[in-house]
């Protein structure tokens, strides 16, 4: 039969294609040398009047949409530091690499930046899998990574400085807020991977300790685009609020479905932890207006530092561009490194680590301080609501910076989570 023959050919083609992809993926594998062996002596050259630093962001692939914005704010920070005289009088020379949304490429490029380009520090990474892939490279080479995105916590490395929020600076305050608003039951919706699963473990432990009922927990595969069944389940469960840890495009499909079933932020608010100013336009302001989100920075923060930051960013990249939390955290991380180096009087990793504790910077989000024990920074938690202008307006604030507690050691209900 002709059609059966065609079908066999077609299927063989698909099989061949996927084999081809497999081979390509193998080609990108990091050498066996990576992550093993003794740390090579640092090759950072500080004898001239410039010093190299590395930017490692996904400029291509599925994460490029988010990471390009972080790259832009890092580039602006480097330019501003150079205009103001550099770090310890040395101009910054940026070596930018593309992580291409692949953890293995992140590890490979980190190795290259450290060993071949001899950079004094690397700034970048977004997904937890990219950070987990880079971590052994930075530890085995005894180099420094500045990581700018909120993440699931339960981690602290000598070689990484975390300038985004850990869970007690974003998720726990978000739960406190919902509790204050009178929520006694929650529905959890998330993407099916490490961050939402870990976040939901924390949320369930908190809920149990605070008498909040979890009415349901649903995960959708990354890139899932049909939320009819999940939103039907959410509607039927009738919780007081929804806690949303969906990532990427799924948020668009989720919020469109939510609105088309007639669910409103007044009746059942959806609190999100990974939707920032950048994403609101794609979701459609009408579909998400009035919904709460939790971060540590919004473009609408009213402070001289932020006014300057927003104005500089728009001047450089266009008046229609928005600033978001990860962009601000990346910008801040470069200035924190500068402060650390100048406090240490040295670019050497050990000296920078020793000097880190207590280093502060008047960031756009407010004054932040580095915690020398766990290498995270103290940040003020903010809950904002999305306005008709597409920007996020602060509704609730922790008032003062919250000390980072990546392992949630100061919360009795969280004992056992880290294990």
């Amino acid at each position: 039969m002709r059609s059966a023959k065609r079908l066999r050919r077609a299927l063989a083609g698909v099989a061949l294609l996927s084999m081809g992809l497999g081979v390509a993926a193998c080609g990108a594998r990091v050498d066996d040398e990576t992550g093993s062996g003794a740390a090579a002596a640092s090759c950072v050259d500080t004898s001239g009047d410039s010093v190299r630093i590395g930017f490692l962001n996904s400029r291509s692939g599925t994460m490029a949409i988010s990471e390009n914005t972080v790259y832009n704010s890092l580039a602006m920070a480097a330019e501003q530091i150079n205009e103001a005289g550099g770090v310890q009088g040395k101009q910054l020379e940026v070596v930018a690499e593309d992580g291409a949304s692949e953890p293995t490429i992140f590890a490979e490029k980190a190795e290259k930046l450290i060993r071949a380009d001899c950079v004094a520090a690397v700034f970048g990474g977004w997904t937890s899998s990219s950070r987990k892939a880079m971590l052994p490279v930075f530890e085995s080479n005894d180099a420094l990574l500045f990581y700018p995105v909120q993440y699931e916590g339960l981690e602290a490395s000598e070689n990484i400085f975390y300038s985004g929020a850990t869970t007690n600076q974003q998720i726990v305050p978000a739960l406190d807020y919902l509790k204050e608003q009178g929520a006694t039951s929650l529905f959890l919706v998330g993407s099916d991977y490490v961050f939402p699963q870990t976040a939901n473990k924390i949320i369930k432990a908190y809920a149990e300790a605070n008498g909040i009922e979890i009415k349901g927990e649903e995960y959708a595969p990354l890139g899932h685009t049909d939320f009819s069944t999940i939103v039907s389940k959410v509607r039927d469960a009738g919780a007081d609020a929804v806690f949303n840890t969906l990532n990427g495009d799924s948020n668009v499909a989720f919020f469109k479905e939510y609105k088309s079933l007639g669910l409103t932020p007044e009746a059942m608010p959806v609190l999100s932890v990974s939707i920032a100013e950048e994403e609101v336009g794609g979701i459609g302001v009408d579909n998400i207006v009035g919904q709460p989100v939790a971060w540590n920075y919004y473009q609408t923060i009213d402070s001289p530092e932020n006014t300057q930051f927003v104005a500089d960013f728009k001047a450089r990249y266009g008046a229609d561009k928005v600033t978001s939390d990860p962009m601000e955290a990346a910008y801040t991380s470069l200035f924190l490194w500068k402060e650390m180096v100048e406090k240490a009087g040295s670019f050497a990793v050990a000296d920078v680590q020793a000097a880190a504790d207590g280093v502060t910077f008047d960031a756009p989000e407010g004054t932040v301080t580095v915690n020398g024990d766990n290498h995270h920074i103290a940040k003020t938690a903010l809950i904002g609501k999305i306005g008709p202008d597409g920007l996020i307006h602060t509704e609730w604030s922790s008032g003062e910076p919250i000390e980072p507690d990546p392992y949630l050691e100061s919360y009795p209900w969280a004992s056992g989570l880290a294990g």
């Binding site: 039969m1 049909d226 009819s228 079933l261």
Partner: protein
């Protein structure tokens, strides 16, 4: 009862979206043996057409109605260009069409990134499609009802065209026996081109429908192409009846399994069901009966 009605509706709704995405593919794959990996990007082009129309016209209701024929034309034109420049040279080489159209898909994705940016954009639903509507005490999202109706209309139009127009007769003749059709005076090349225009145009229409559901980004096509191929293969190549049954069965199965388990498990189980089904019926639900010797 309410759950039953909701889930049957959700299943039909998922099915109608699958059908819209797969309808054009079923035509071109079935007739020409071309594995068009760029079909998803034609869907994306349709979605961006709706975006551009809305940016230009503003009024959501009018722009949605205008987008449909416009997206059909743009999807169709893209298809014809692809057919004329590349595919025409490689009929009967399905593996090559697979690779070539995959390359074209990547180029189109990058083109969309360069024109519209990496961030997703939004097409607002017109007021008459916003929110739910109450029917017999149950509430259904208006946008999903609209897509269901659109899918039924598109299928009806294609079936009528195949059955009652001379182009339809030429297409059917070419599918059943290319050589014989050729020697009876049918220009199969012209027929191929027109089939590709209609098939790709339907992808454009699917793109407009999808703007009511989810995100419009350069990745839009890749999220639907695999599901569309599943529908075509389960349905049987070039079999509209098969594609319709396959789309709705897969949609209902997906929704039911998802309701009782989770979305991730539903994806896996539906794939496993398809694999099991193809073990017993590799030719799909329907088989093309043909007198051709090859």
């Amino acid at each position: 009862m309410e759950t039953l009605v909701t889930q049957v509706f959700n299943g039909l709704s998922v099915g109608s979206i699958l059908l819209l995405a797969a309808l054009g593919l079923s035509l071109t794959f079935g007739q020409m043996g071309v594995i068009n990996m760029a079909h998803g990007e034609f869907i994306m082009a349709g979605a961006y057409t709706a975006f551009v129309v809305q940016q230009t016209l503003g009024a959501a209701g009018l722009s949605l109605v205008l987008s449909l024929p416009l997206a059909f034309g743009i999807g169709g034109l893209l298809g014809v260009v692809l057919e004329l420049t590349l595919l025409r040279r490689m009929y009967h080489r399905p593996l090559d069409t697979l690779l070539v159209t995959w390359g074209v898909a990547l180029v189109l994705q990058q083109l969309a990134r360069d024109i519209f940016g990496t961030a997703g954009v939004d097409v607002a639903a017109p007021a008459w499609l916003a929110g739910p509507v109450q029917i017999l005490g149950f509430s259904f999202p208006r946008s999903r009802l609209f897509i269901l109706v659109l899918a039924v209309l598109a299928v009806t139009a294609v079936v009528m065209a195949l059955r009652y127009t001379s182009l339809g007769r030429r297409i059917r003749a070419t599918v059943q026996n290319r050589q014989l059709a050729e020697s009876s005076g049918i220009s199969t090349r012209r027929t191929d081109m027109l089939t590709f225009f209609i098939g790709s145009g339907l992808a454009g229409v699917a793109g407009v429908a999808l703007t009511l559901m989810g995100s419009i980004s350069p990745n839009l096509g890749s999220s639907y192409i695999v599901d569309a191929f599943l529908v075509v293969i389960v349905g049987g190549l070039g079999q509209l009846k098969g594609a319709i049954i396959a789309a709705f069965s897969l949609g209902v199965a997906q929704s039911w399994i998802e309701y009782t388990t989770t979305a991730s498990i539903a994806k896996v189980l539906v794939l496993a069901l398809v694999v099991a089904f193809l073990q017993f019926r590799p030719q799909g639900i329907f088989t093309l009966r043909t007198r051709s010797l090859v």
